[in-house]
């Protein structure tokens, strides 16, 4: 009824191979973009941006990055926190060393540096597979956090060992430091989200993405039909780390402003992003957004219900949150191993036939 392909004819190759071939999807996509760019910035205040939109957007980038590695290429990584830290510290060093260069370039270069580090730690994936690789990426996590804690050069010899973002502008608007405006930071992050989702979506449906998926499904078979595992795995690590580095840079510079590496980019962060893509859906860009939204909203919703309505102590609510997140992961894996994205796909199938049963 609402969602159908009937009457939607492609008359050129370009139309046939576009990202959203179904009209309804395409218009929905344009509508979401329109709302996000032209409506939301005029409606938000500081609270909304800082507690909902910024974490959602930044985690969405990280989730897209990790999803490329885990969901598309099948290489499980527990080093996300460490790679985010690389992005954050690279951005910090760039911001303080070259104050006049645009933030846009700093964040992108931070992504490139993280990609290089990611490739370095991705090298063992050629020999090590499965769980062994997951554990090997822990080496990256712990080593990187230790490095940023112990080498004073990374935090510019500051007494506290923290890094804090100096004031920087983008197109004349303050986006880091103390005097920022909510809508400016929101739009700056949104720009990167749109860029990441666009690049990721088009990479994963092109030849690179197909190679990743071949490696994921069975690497030996993929190798036999001519996929180069070295290139496929390392490009997956590079692209994934690039996005994770961008999200780390934004997380530090725009969202938090000051960072203590062990607290912010610890192993918990790696698991959080991993949970996002499990709940959202492995191997789906939409799933990365859904998972990020879900795990950003859940604590806020729980806090409102538990602390504000029921008046429970915050520590009990925090523990309940652990129970609920853990329980949800198990429920999702049992009921729907492909996550929220699969629910969305099923809903679309149903909508296509509605109001008829078959």
């Amino acid at each position: 009824m609402f969602y159908r392909e009937a009457g939607d004819f492609s008359t050129s190759y370009a139309e046939d191979s576009q990202t959203f071939p179904i009209k309804f999807d395409r218009y929905r996509y344009y509508l979401v973009l329109f709302l996000a760019i032209f409506v939301v910035p005029f409606m938000v205040n500081d609270y909304w941006v800082n507690s909902l939109f910024l974490p959602f957007l930044i985690y969405a980038i990280a989730a897209i990055g990790l999803n490329i590695l885990v969901g598309y290429c099948g290489q499980v990584s527990l080093g996300t926190g460490g790679f985010m830290a690389v992005g954050a510290y690279a951005c910090y060093k760039l911001m303080t060393s070259f104050p006049d260069v645009s933030m846009l370039i700093h964040v992108l270069i931070a992504g490139v540096i993280t990609a290089a580090v990611g490739v370095l730690f991705g090298l063992p994936s050629l020999r090590i597979k499965g769980f062994y690789l997951a554990v090997a990426t822990l080496a990256a996590q712990f080593f990187l956090v230790w490095l940023f804690n112990r080498v004073p050069w990374f935090y510019n010899y500051s007494a506290s060992g923290q890094i804090s973002a100096p004031e920087r502008t983008f197109l004349g608007f303050n986006i880091t430091g103390a005097n920022t405006q909510a809508w400016a930071t929101y739009l700056f992050c949104l720009m990167f989200v749109i860029f990441s989702a666009y690049v990721a979506r088009n990479l994963t449906r092109g030849s690179v993405g197909r190679k990743w998926m071949a490696i994921r499904d069975m690497d030996i078979a993929a190798e036999i039909i001519g996929v180069n595992p070295l290139r496929a795995k390392l490009t997956a690590f590079a692209v994934s780390s690039f996005f994770i580095g961008i999200s780390g840079a934004l997380f530090f510079s725009i969202y938090l402003g000051a960072v203590e590496v062990g607290e912010v980019f610890g192993i918990q962060k790696s698991f959080l992003v991993l949970f996002m893509i499990i709940i959202g859906g492995l191997g789906s860009i939409f799933g990365s957004f859904a998972g990020a939204a879900f795990l950003v909203l859940l604590p806020v919703a729980l806090k409102i219900v538990g602390v504000d309505w029921l008046g429970w102590p915050t520590d009990i609510v925090a523990h309940l949150q652990l129970v609920i997140v853990g329980g949800l992961i198990i429920v999702f894996l049992i009921a729907e191993p492909h996550g929220l994205a699969q629910l969305w796909r099923v809903a679309k199938e149903k909508l296509r036939l509605w109001p008829f049963p078959h």
């Binding site: 499980v76 063992p124 020999r127 090590i128 597979k129 499965g130 769980f131 062994y132 997951a134 554990v135 090997a136 822990l138 080496a139 712990f142 080593f143 956090v145 230790w146 804690n149 112990r150 080498v151 069975m218 030996i220 078979a221 036999i224 192993i267 698991f271 991993l274 949970f275 499990i278 029921l310 008046g311 429970w312 102590p313 520590d315 009990i316 523990h319 309940l320 949150q321 652990l322 129970v323 609920i324 997140v325 853990g326 329980g327 949800l328 992961i329 198990i330 894996l333 049992i334 191993p337």
Partner: protein, 329 residues
């Protein structure tokens, strides 16, 4: 004997003792992995949960008292009695068996035949769940466990070595007891696996699920048995670590330390877990003492084990004692 050498030997010995405790946690991993192919990330949290439960029972705390107080506005905290340590350990074991049953029944029964990585992620979810439940049940404050294990400096070794070598070795009594218990546990497990009916059934399941099923071994029962055994090992590890450094969240992080131990030793080998634990324990203490602290600014223990395992795996992907990985299309 030169001072530096004596120090190094002492660090070596302390590393051995720490390695025994890592090995204890790794042992629980190996048990479950061998029997069901599940890589149980929750093993560390199980140790934490067991230790919390033990401490709570000994103190006579009311389970979920904070939650009950928050919901009903009551003020219950303790039953007002203290349970003797031995009884409390038995009760905790009952709780761990109940947990094993629940985990098998509610979670992994529904995930039979899924890919290993899905099972692994389910255990991460389980770890979060258990951690939350443990905190809700017994509160998140740091507790101490005292089940009567000896603690403190072993005077006898100190004096003997001082008289003989001119340098007194500092070795904790608790570490010695822990090593003895770990050794007993391993011998016990090996005997159990070799000579009892259930143990043989367990090995059969580990060898081939389908074949075991077809000769009448109940997979459900064996899996519950294995999770209970892992719960028991977790309890022992929880008591050791809890006595040593208090029951707190960081206890569950030893699970992360047990991972490189497993990688070194191989996921499927019980002796591998022990040897791997000892290598990691000694390696990280010696590295910290000889290279980390003087040259790298210290705290290298955080990552040394992972790096060692990573470098090692590049040359031998199945670990020291693991079964050779054969890949087929």
């Amino acid at each position: 004997m030169p001072e530096q050498l004596a120090f190094t030997i002492e660090v070596f010995l302390n590393g051995l003792m720490a390695g025994v405790l890592y090995a204890l946690v790794a042992l629980g991993f190996v048990l479950i992995y061998k029997a069901s192919g599940i890589f149980n990330y929750a093993q560390g949290v199980m140790a934490l949960f067991a230790a919390l439960t033990l401490a709570g029972i000994v103190d006579g705390q009311v389970p979920f008292s904070h939650l009950i107080n928050a919901i009903f506005g009551t003020d219950v905290h303790h039953f007002g009695w203290n349970v003797p340590a031995f009884v409390a350990i038995l009760l905790t074991m009952v709780v761990m068996i109940g947990l094993a049953y629940a985990v098998q029944r509610l979670v992994f029964r529904h995930l039979v035949g899924q890919e290993p990585i899905i099972l692994f992620m389910a255990t991460i979810g389980l770890a979060y769940f258990l951690e939350g439940v443990g905190d809700l049940m017994w509160g998140s404050d740091i507790k101490s466990i005292d089940v009567g294990l000896p603690q403190g400096l072993n005077m006898w070794i100190d004096e003997t070595t001082f008289n003989a070598l001119g340098y007194g070795f500092f070795i904790d009594n608790l570490d010695i007891v822990a090593s003895i218990i770990a050794a007993l546990l391993v011998v016990g497990l090996v005997l159990f696996a070799q000579y009892t009916k259930q143990g043989r059934a367990m090995r059969a399941v580990a060898d081939d699920h389908q074949a075991a099923l077809s000769v009448g071994v109940s997979l459900n029962f064996i899996w519950i048995l294995v999770w209970s055994l892992a719960g028991f090992v977790a309890l022992v590890a929880g008591i050791m670590w809890g006595t040593k450094s208090g029951v707190q969240f960081s206890l569950s992080l030893i699970a992360l330390k047990a991972l490189p131990v497993l990688m070194l030793g191989g996921f499927t080998s019980i002796p591998g877990a022990i040897v791997g634990g000892l290598i990691i324990g000694v390696g990280e203490k010696l590295f910290e003492f000889l290279i980390g602290a003087p040259f790298l600014g210290g705290a290298t223990e955080n990552w040394f084990a992972y790096m060692l395992a990573l470098i090692f795996l590049v040359f031998r992907p199945q670990g020291l004692f693991g079964e050779k990985i054969i890949e087929r299309v």
